[in-house]
């Protein structure tokens, strides 16, 4: 499977394996990290960002691709929409069927609210399903929520909103317990002790996992619970605008059937945006580990309705996306591979960094190794660095890989690469939206009765997120948003519905001189894989 050139380099990796496995590489100092990030992390490339000229964050910078969508035209003409007849009426409307949306639905239903989910694909088609490595919670005796707080706060460059991070770490153990009680299978020792490992930037081993199907195991269980509760799930139906009432409170959404394009009206007392991330916008041309539907829809919907963004200029590039073979270019290679013993090795077989630095630092370090030091390995899509997977079994014994990371074994096995015997090639891949909608401690955005949870939110993690804190945040804040939205719904009287904010936003764009035919939300990406018939368009 590997090319001649790769095989040559691989010999050096094999020759050094034993020595490299025994090595305990030094961690970088704070100053070294800062200098590295400034020079090599994609977030620091100023010409890849643009300044917003309209809306609540006017004057702030966001990725160029995101700005185009935030300042694009609506998919609807409000004048064509009859808001007097609702196709759906509910207490709590949840937009998005991933982990946050499903958790919110279960809690809102539990609180007695009439709840429904709309999702543009199927429930469970979400980044949650693809989370591999694990979920953090400080539940071991040598750990505490305070240590978890410090790890996450520092790892996020001291930018997290303290009140949100406080909730994340203090509600983490209960989130694990809640999942366990729903029947999620965590990796445990025979006596019930959770098997926990390190992630990049953790100071205690608090990564809980379900092999390397952690997100899938959580998502399929949550989905089953939503269905058992009889919560309506309207699939293949996207929200294309939020609806406000005459008092400026959020009161529903205009929906679009993805297959028939039929428009529908959902009226609600409270709305939760749980639309996820943005990897499919392929910022700076990066491949992505994200789900097909990760197109920043929630940011667009919320922004047009008056919600504010926080840290929308910071993205996470996962250090280890698959760099080879090309069929899985950009696919996630879980950090757990490093948690259980594999190290990053360059073309000369040298370990060039500690394998568990935070993700932003690791990604920048890999980019430096390729771009500046010329120690990357050529691939059909660019360059890659070795992730020396055979080291795992050298350290932990035969069978470890099949037991702990079966999905990785399978993913590469399909292309004739046995990761137990051969190292794999990786390069950073667009993985996570660190920023998003600004919320308060009750998960409410700046728009009354509009809540948000999951990857669409910004501020929980600051400017970089630790492994396992996102799978955690979708549960913690999904549940909290569900409870808060259900509680708030009890006292809401919905006024006359309006889409005036859509017209007002369009007028603001026009006044700012924005031209172009782009419409948003984007909903789905388009791929043509170099077909000359389509590439010209």
């Amino acid at each position: 499977m590997y090319t001649e050139q790769m095989l040559e380099s691989m010999k050096k990796v094999a020759a050094n394996r034993e020595a490299n496995a025994a090595l305990e590489p030094r961690r970088m100092t704070a100053e070294e990290k800062e200098a590295l990030l400034a020079k090599f992390h994609p977030d620091y490339k100023q010409d890849e960002f643009a300044i917003l000229s309209v809306g609540g964050n006017k004057g702030e910078k966001v990725p160029t691709e995101l700005r185009a969508l935030l300042e694009a035209k609506s998919r609807i003409n409000p004048a064509d929409i009859d808001l007097s007849k609702a196709d759906y009426e509910t207490d709590v409307l949840i937009i998005g069927g991933g982990g946050a949306g499903a958790s919110a639905a279960i809690e809102a239903d539990e609180a007695g609210a009439k709840t429904m989910i709309v999702t543009k694909l199927r429930i469970g088609d979400a980044n949650t399903m693809m989370a591999e490595g694990g979920i953090q919670a400080a539940d071991k005796p040598n750990d505490s929520p305070a240590i978890h707080y410090l790890d996450a706060f520092g790892g996020g460059h001291f930018a997290a909103k303290p009140e949100l991070l406080y909730k994340l770490v203090t509600e983490a153990p209960e989130a694990i317990q809640w999942l366990n009680d729903l029947g999620v299978e965590f990796d445990k020792m025979p006596d019930g002790t959770m098997v926990t490992t390190h992630g990049g930037g953790t100071s205690r081993k608090r990564m809980h996992a379900a092999k390397d199907y952690s997100g899938a195991e959580i998502m399929r269980t949550l989905r089953d619970e939503v269905l058992n509760r009889g919560i309506p799930v309207i699939d293949f139906t996207a929200a294309v605008e939020l609806i406000l009432d005459e008092n400026g409170n959020c009161a529903g959404a205009v929906l679009m059937n993805m297959e028939t394009n039929e428009l529908l009206i959902a009226k609600a007392k409270t709305v939760i945006l749980a639309t996820g991330g943005a990897g499919r916008l392929h910022y700076q041309g990066f491949p992505t580990s994200n789900h097909y539907g990760a197109t920043a829809d929630g940011l667009v919907l919320g922004y047009r309705a008056g919600a504010k963004l926080l840290y929308a200029d910071t993205l996470q590039y996962h250090p280890t996306g698959a760099a080879y073979p090309e069929q899985i270019f950009g696919a996630l290679v879980t950090e757990k591979v490093r948690s259980i013993g594999a190290k990053l090795v360059n073309s000369d077989g040298e370990v060039f960094m500690h394998p568990l630095e935070t993700r932003d630092v690791s990604a920048a370090s890999i980019i430096r190794e390729c771009q500046e030091r010329g120690k990357g390995i050529e691939t059909s899509d660019g360059q890659g660095i070795w992730l020396d997977t055979p080291m795992i079994e050298l350290k932990n014994g035969e069978g470890t890989i099949e037991k702990r990371i079966p999905a990785m074994l399978r993913m590469f096995g399909k292309y004739g690469i046995d990761i137990r015997k051969e190292p794999i090639l990786i390069y950073p891949t667009l993985h996570y939206q660190n920023g998003g909608l600004d919320i308060d401690a009750d998960c409410m955005t700046k728009v009354e009765n509009l809540f948000a949870a999951g990857e669409v939110v910004g501020g929980i993690h600051g400017r970089n997120r630790l492994m396992g804190n996102s799978l955690l945040d979708i549960i913690v804040f999904g549940r909290d948003a569900g409870k808060a939205a259900a509680e708030k719904a009890k006292s809401v009287n919905v006024g006359k519905l309006t889409l005036a904010h859509v017209d007002a936003f369009a007028a603001e764009c026009e006044a700012a001189g924005i031209v172009g035919d782009t419409v948003s939300p984007k909903l789905l990406p388009t791929y043509t894989h170099g077909n000359p018939k389509f590439e010209a368009k």
Binding site: S144, Y149, F153, T170, R220, T221, E259, Y527
Partner: protein, 224 residues
């Protein structure tokens, strides 16, 4: 020029580069996928696909995002399959043998043809995990079925009408909730947090100036 192959998408012929996955080939041909495409990474089961290489008798199943095209491949996607999902209350059901009999009695009609196992896109021993479920051995069923992505191909091939992925999901939930050992340290920690054990410590941290937080972070002890 790239190496091209002929594929037949729903019977219609397209010429596509040989390095593409089936999903990539559909997009290359001009499909804008809505159904039959999810995580694009082998975890969600949205892109279940059945194919046959022209001239061969064997019908194969795969995930379109995880499988390379081959010359003369006849492809049919299976974007939805009507699995039977029973409704149950996890708080009320118990991990007894009877529960499968009540909820999914069709598993006892298995004729042992093994078509499910042969069709599994994840290479799982599906018939074996159904056998474990029949016996009420939910721990074994959970372990054997763990990597299931619920694409439904197994069920599409089953003469007994079994919804294997749903049976396995129930077994895993029963195992996770009732059979797997309890984690005492988890229960202790939840109790401590409810009692406010860490409140003061956390509030102290939240009130510190950033310079002091940097100091603490950069000098924190890291467990080996």
């Amino acid at each position: 020029m790239e190496n091209m192959v002929n594929v037949f998408l729903m019977g219609k012929k397209y010429e596509v580069p040989s390095n593409l996955t089936i999903m990539g080939a559909m997009e290359y041909a001009g499909y804008q996928l809505v159904r039959g495409c999810g995580c694009r990474n082998g975890f969600c089961g949205a892109c279940a696909t059945i194919y046959r290489i022209k001239g061969e008798s064997e019908l194969k199943a795969c995930l379109a995002c995880q499988t390379k095209v081959e010359d003369n491949m006849y492809v049919a996607t299976l974007p939805f399959f009507p699995l039977e999902k029973k409704i149950y209350d996890m708080e009320k059901i118990k991990p007894t043998e009877q529960i499968m009999m009540q909820l999914y009695p069709e598993i006892y009609s298995c004729i042992g043809c093994n078509a499910c196992t042969k069709a599994c896109t994840q290479g799982l021993n599906v018939m074996q995990y159904i056998a474990y479920a029949q016996r009420g051995d939910y721990e074994a069923c959970a372990e054997e079925s763990f990597d299931c992505v619920m694409c439904g191909v197994c069920s599409s091939r089953c003469p007994a009408g079994i919804s294997h992925p749903q049976v396995a999901l129930l077994a895993r939930r029963l195992n996770g909730k009732y059979l797997a050992p309890k984690s005492e340290h988890l229960e202790d920690r939840v109790r401590e947090i409810k009692n406010g054990t860490f409140e003061e410590l956390l509030e102290g941290l939240m009130g510190k100036p950033i310079s002091e937080m940097k100091e603490l972070y950069n000098n924190r002890e890291i467990e080996k």
